[in-house]
Symmetry: C2
Subunit: 527 residues, 2 copies
Amino acid sequence: VKNTIFLLSCCFILNIHCINAQNSIKQWDRFEIVLKHNPTSNPFTNDSISAVFKNGDNCKKVRGFYDGYGTYKIRFMPDETGTWTYVTGSNRPDMDKKEGSFTCVSPSSENHGPVKVINQYHFGYSDGKPYYPFGTTVYSFIHQNDDQAAVAIAQLQKSPFNKLRFCVMPQFQDFARLDIEHFPFEQLNKPASIRKDTILWNFDCFNPGFFSNLERRIESLEKLGVEADIILFHPYDEHKWGFDNMSHETDILYLKYIVARLASYHNVWWSLANEYDFLKYKKAADWASYIKVVAQEDPYGHLCSIHNAKVYYENTNSALTHASIQNGDLVDGFGKAVILRDAYKKPVIYDEVCYEGDIKYRWGNLTAQEMTYRFWQGMIAGTYVGHGETYIGKDSVLHLIYGRQLRGQSPQRIKFLRTIVESTGPWEQVDHFWGVDNLAAAANGDYIIYFGKEKIKKWQFFISRDSKIPDGTKFEVEIIDTWNMTVTPVKGVFVTKLKDGRIVDVDNKSVKLPKKPYLALRLKKIK
Amino acid sequence: VKNTIFLLSCCFILNIHCINAQNSIKQWDRFEIVLKHNPTSNPFTNDSISAVFKNGDNCKKVRGFYDGYGTYKIRFMPDETGTWTYVTGSNRPDMDKKEGSFTCVSPSSENHGPVKVINQYHFGYSDGKPYYPFGTTVYSFIHQNDDQAAVAIAQLQKSPFNKLRFCVMPQFQDFARLDIEHFPFEQLNKPASIRKDTILWNFDCFNPGFFSNLERRIESLEKLGVEADIILFHPYDEHKWGFDNMSHETDILYLKYIVARLASYHNVWWSLANEYDFLKYKKAADWASYIKVVAQEDPYGHLCSIHNAKVYYENTNSALTHASIQNGDLVDGFGKAVILRDAYKKPVIYDEVCYEGDIKYRWGNLTAQEMTYRFWQGMIAGTYVGHGETYIGKDSVLHLIYGRQLRGQSPQRIKFLRTIVESTGPWEQVDHFWGVDNLAAAANGDYIIYFGKEKIKKWQFFISRDSKIPDGTKFEVEIIDTWNMTVTPVKGVFVTKLKDGRIVDVDNKSVKLPKKPYLALRLKKIK
């Protein structure tokens, strides 16, 4: 029974050993070398294929992969324009030392390249365009058919979200359906009951169909300008599929295979795990080596993180580009979100802060107000927050799992916040020390003050002296109602003066507020 | 002018090369080998001296040091009873391969051995006795004369403090006097004005008198049962003395010398720096190597940390036993103190949270209420807090600098807290995730709820379900007034029941409270 996939896949092999590849591609698009070879043993474990790409001093080694049917592929994402030459390497002579070249031209206007960390705590596309992560989660995005996925994609297109967390491995848990079309490994039996019986896998043979389906989903996100935050391992298996408890060798084989297939997609982020500490079969040394493998195999340095349940991962690990945190409490109240950022000294995305919804679990019944509040709390701390939705609906198809209908009221408020941040540049909490933790400085010189759940009637003009604003700086003030999504300019101009260790208005002016929760102020610097 | 100290110190050299050492000492006391040798060049840089101590499989290599006057010393703190043998090593043949042995007997009743980390987040003496750090800071403790120091020691003895942070290097800043008796290095000139002129040092020659004075101060703390949290570098120099800007080689020489002298004192902790990030001449690589040197040179693994100003050090560094944090904001309000503990996964001591006092600086004018509040905030988060006092008084002699008169009202409240913790064992914040951040579980099964500044009339019995208390557990309740230092038992017995995801009293009982700030409850488990 073993190795049926690669044997089956051999039936259409051509007798010629050819290279198919493009002559010209755009920067950050995908260049692909296709090679044909008749495998004589398991190609996934026994055939190695790679290529070295060169453009001046820029040199990258890329692993290829077996794609079934006697087809081997090497994919490459050029990060510079110009002429790239390449030469293949393989333990199979007919695929070894194949040379070629192609021209890389300027990127398309839609492709800004991979997202990178900028200014230590924030993100931007490779071409310099700012990127502010406003993510949501749809765990089983790829574990549904094309029609269903099309609905999810249409919802995403209407939403403010520009990052999607989803799992590679199928789920086996509440709310997840088990009629799964594609599995990542060759299936060795067809049990009568998926729920009761055990499915046996040949962990030495990947199922290329599973991965090409995954790739089509990543491409659909690419078209929307959405980053694919790909969860490589998760604990939602109950040891049913067994993908949470593969051998260390299989895990490594899988990571090398998936990085070889996906690293050339510019919108890919690696999320080593969701709730890594709930994967009870894996030890600290496993995660350390998996992070290392992904970093080593990925020639482009895609963003890379690992998401926790109860125990934060050692996010100071230098191969992790940012901290992906689950903890709703850290964005529920002032002054907490910034602390992990100060400890890890890298960007923090609170990827899971509980979900807007109405299910019985305490992680899935935030109000829209509360979800919106948590986004603002994260933002004023110079961190980012992720959304998820768990309204049960009539069909029990949670957005969190399949991403179809968005029922919640927070997405439009998140869009409103995103619009503001896009107009100011990234925010930084001004004071990490003296208790003024509702004040952010925006990159454009504006200041944002968020009042959260406080209902106040009057705001006496005051900015923490840690802002170091010089005397005589002029501001206009806007009242932002973060829930009702209104912006109301305040009459007059405020002029700063340092007095008794506080930056105040020279005339001691104040701002009247409507005594409602969820208000913010934008102090617009007059240039 | 160079090397005058070691030349001077040679004048009393005996013509015999003898070893003086004890035959028997108590565990964790100090064994000392004294060797005589006539140095022919700078003994601090050119003579090496060490010894290997063995007791069965227990083997430790210890560096010795030159103590002036042709005297070399090797100090050793035996951590096990039994017979220890030793052999010296030196690049000077007359001090090389000297052998001996001594008996180590049971420790004295006052000596519990060095403090170690226990249960990942807490501390205990080596003999198993619990230790809860309640520290204060007296920067210039050693930079005053014996009579002045005796006053400081008498104050400390009356206080609740069992750890003292102090600097090795003298200070040059507000509130610090400049009539300093001992300096760590050989002084090469005597300028007319200490304030205006530059003192020149021979950084290749230590001043043994400075260090023996330091040792007497450490011994005085030892007698009180106070741990010596020794600050090895600090930025309060203004480049006046130059001890903040010695060469990398001098820094290393100094660290090796001081560790050789002091590591055998059981009450020593290493604090690499106060406000390390304000030492503008030192780079990240310097600190990494200094931490490494201290860890390598200290054969006993004394507690070791580094204290920050604005930028936390990488406290995940495995040679750092705990995080020594300056940030008052993290113990001002609920739910913050625990976050760094969760990030660093080691004990956190908030060694600097601003000071009780009345000086103009914002770091030095906390009320006693606020200081006490910060201690409680740290404690319920399973962390520890440090005290400091900055009442200016008539003489401008701050307790923070010289440790003489304690004028504040927080120390007795800190003593009250210490008594409670000593009766319950260490505390752990129960819930790190769901917003119930005023509840701590004590090691003895009791629970503590702290209300901080809230003034409430009634507490409806409720414990977070994360406590996992089984149904039917019985508690008596005490109302603790943390400011007035009273404990008032509440009538009746409370019996737990999990209901709707909350642990409540079976009869839905509540506790009347006097609507004052700074109250806490102790739920005493009935066994």
